[in-house]
């Protein structure tokens, strides 16, 4: 009985991996398509396209690409919104990765970026 279960588990793993890879590839393609649309879009639509592309990269686990795209969105619209919230969380994930890898200078850089986002939120709410 246990051997039967072990076989089932062993058989499931490559399939699960394949499904995850398809999801990842689909999400990355979705993000790339959105970025391609952004190249020819109007200023109004740009931020929304960047945010959707950033969300797709984030869901695909592409942390650095997600950060890059959300930063483009934030540059275009420097205020509280989906980009600032996402960047706060992504910067923290990046900070944690670097801290665990022993790169404390890199970790401090991302902590600094999180504090910049917090300052923008403070300034906006105080009308600065």
């Amino acid at each position: 009985m246990f051997r039967f279960r072990r076989k089932e588990k062993a058989a499931a793993t490559p399939q699960v991996k394949e499904e995850l890879a398809i999801d990842h590839d689909a999400l990355v393609k979705q993000a790339d398509d959105l970025l391609a649309q952004a190249e020819t879009s109007s200023a109004d639509a740009l931020v929304d396209l960047y945010n959707r592309a950033g969300a797709a990269f984030d869901a695909a686990g592409e942390l650095d690409k997600a950060i890059e795209v959300y930063e483009l969105s934030f540059e275009n619209k420097r205020e509280i919104g989906p980009a600032s919230k996402a960047l706060q969380s992504l910067y923290n994930k990046k900070r944690q990765q670097l801290a665990k890898a022993g790169d404390s200078e890199g970790a401090m850089t991302y902590l600094g970026k999180m504090q910049e986002i917090m300052q923008v939120a403070k300034d906006q709410l105080r009308g600065k």
Partner: protein, 433 residues
């Protein structure tokens, strides 16, 4: 022995030197260059001296306010008016009360205890808000000083209590932080957590989480808060004016006699200038605090990330603002309303001093309380919870006020309720001993 005595009386009791040594240690541990270590150490010491200068200006202004207010309303000693200002408390404690060295060492001690607790317990939170740690170290030192502790025992006890608060306050806020942020990877590092939980409790019971503050159309910002010091001056001038009108010229002359001075200035002009002086003193004091912490806090942050890389960073309260900006505005408005009600309550309750609310404290603490309340009780819960929050954050400092006056604080009480409660806990043995 002579050398040890020399070190104790010329180094370890001199707050500016102790703070400089802490900065030097932090910079050296980060392997900064000799130039950076020297510059950082010097600027930290300079920060302490700037803080002291600002504190002296604030205290002079508060002496005017206290004398004229008490004269005008026939009040005495501990039943008079207290200005709620944690910055002013820190300035007086470090400077006039001579606790600067102990506070600086406790700041380091709280950081060490927090790191140890984050490493060995399941509460993996590292408190990274430098100013808040400075306020906590101030109140724990003041509390244990009231109890009678001195020297290393004072610093150790204050560090342990402060370190426990630095670890546990983010932990108890985290269930609601998870609701606010939709994730578990960032914590709250702001010592008003108990107030937020009280507000959230009231909000949960009275509110409706299905109707959020973010569904309401509100102004995008509170532009009158765009200049911090102008906002503080507007509020302080109102209270200074009330005191001046109540005291009149006789009140002003009473104040001049108490400081052994004389002046031909009209009492209304004196009121205006003194209110400006309070804000100037606060500006200088806060410049000193920022300079003082500028080299120490990055050292703490860098070392904590090396020692506890998987801990959640407990960050300052604006980390929540992006998730419910309307709740921040409503939180400020209704906490201010609550704090005005609280101020009148402190006038009505016998034995309590009158507490003047702080504008900036109401913005940051009130705004964050709004975000907490909205997460569990929607807009109705935010309104009712934040009014309750405003009353709470006035009553706790009012209760602590007389004890602070016994220690030697002049016309001041605290704002951040966690620091107030830590101070009260530290004072308990002194009350019953």
């Amino acid at each position: 022995m002579t050398i040890i005595n020399w070190i104790i009386s010329n180094v370890l009791t001199q707050a500016a030197v102790v703070i400089g040594l802490i900065a030097l240690l932090g910079l050296a541990l980060q392997k900064k260059s000799v130039g950076e270590v020297l510059t950082g150490t010097f600027s930290t010491m300079l920060g302490f001296l700037v803080l002291s200068a600002g504190s002296a200006v604030v205290q002079a202004s508060l002496t005017y306010f206290g004398d004229v207010f008490n004269f005008g309303f026939g009040l005495t000693g501990t039943s008079g008016a207290l200005v709620a200002s944690i910055e002013g408390i820190n300035g007086q404690a470090m400077n006039e009360l001579g606790l600067g060295g102990s506070i600086a060492l406790t700041l380091l001690g709280i950081f060490i205890v927090n790191i140890i607790l984050a490493r060995v317990t399941k509460f993996k939170y590292v408190f990274l808000t430098g100013q808040a740690l400075l306020w906590m170290s101030t109140l724990t030192v003041v509390g244990f000083f009231f109890t009678g502790l001195r020297g290393p025992a004072l610093v150790i006890a204050a560090s342990i209590l402060g370190g426990i608060f630095a670890t546990m306050m983010p932990a108890i806020a985290q269930p609601i932080m998870r609701k606010i942020m939709g994730s578990d990877d960032i914590a709250l590092g702001h010592f008003c957590t108990i107030g937020y939980l009280v507000a959230a409790g009231v909000s949960k019971v009275t509110g409706d989480v299905d109707h959020s503050t973010e569904d309401v159309k509100l102004p995008e910002s509170l532009s009158f808060l765009s200049d911090t010091y102008v906002s503080v001056w507007v509020v302080m001038f109102i209270f200074y004016l009330v005191a001046a009108i109540a005291g009149g010229d006789a009140g002003y002359q009473y104040y001049l006699e108490s400081i052994g001075s004389s002046s031909s200035l009209h009492w209304l002009v004196a009121c205006f200038l003194q209110s400006l002086q309070f804000v100037v003193g606060l500006y200088v004091l806060m410049s000193g605090v920022r300079l003082l912490l500028a080299n120490i806090v990055p050292a703490f942050q860098g070392i904590s990330m090396k020692l506890v890389p998987d801990a959640r960073p407990a960050l300052d309260c604006p980390v929540t603002f992006a998730y419910a900006p309307n709740a921040v505005i409503m939180g400020f408005i209704f906490t201010t309303i609550g704090s005005i009600i609280g101020m009148f309550l402190t006038m009505a309750i016998p034995g309590l001093p009158i507490v003047i609310p702080g504008v900036m404290s109401n913005f940051f603490a009130g705004g964050t309380a709004g975000v907490f309340c909205n997460a569990v009780g929607g807009r109705r819960g935010t309104i009712i919870g934040c009014i309750a929050h405003g009353i709470f954050i006035m009553l706790i400092p009012a209760i602590l006020g007389p004890m602070l006056a016994q220690v030697g604080f002049v016309n001041l009480t605290v704002t951040d309720v966690d620091t107030a409660l830590a101070g009260m806990l530290a004072m308990l043995p002194g009350l019953f001993g």
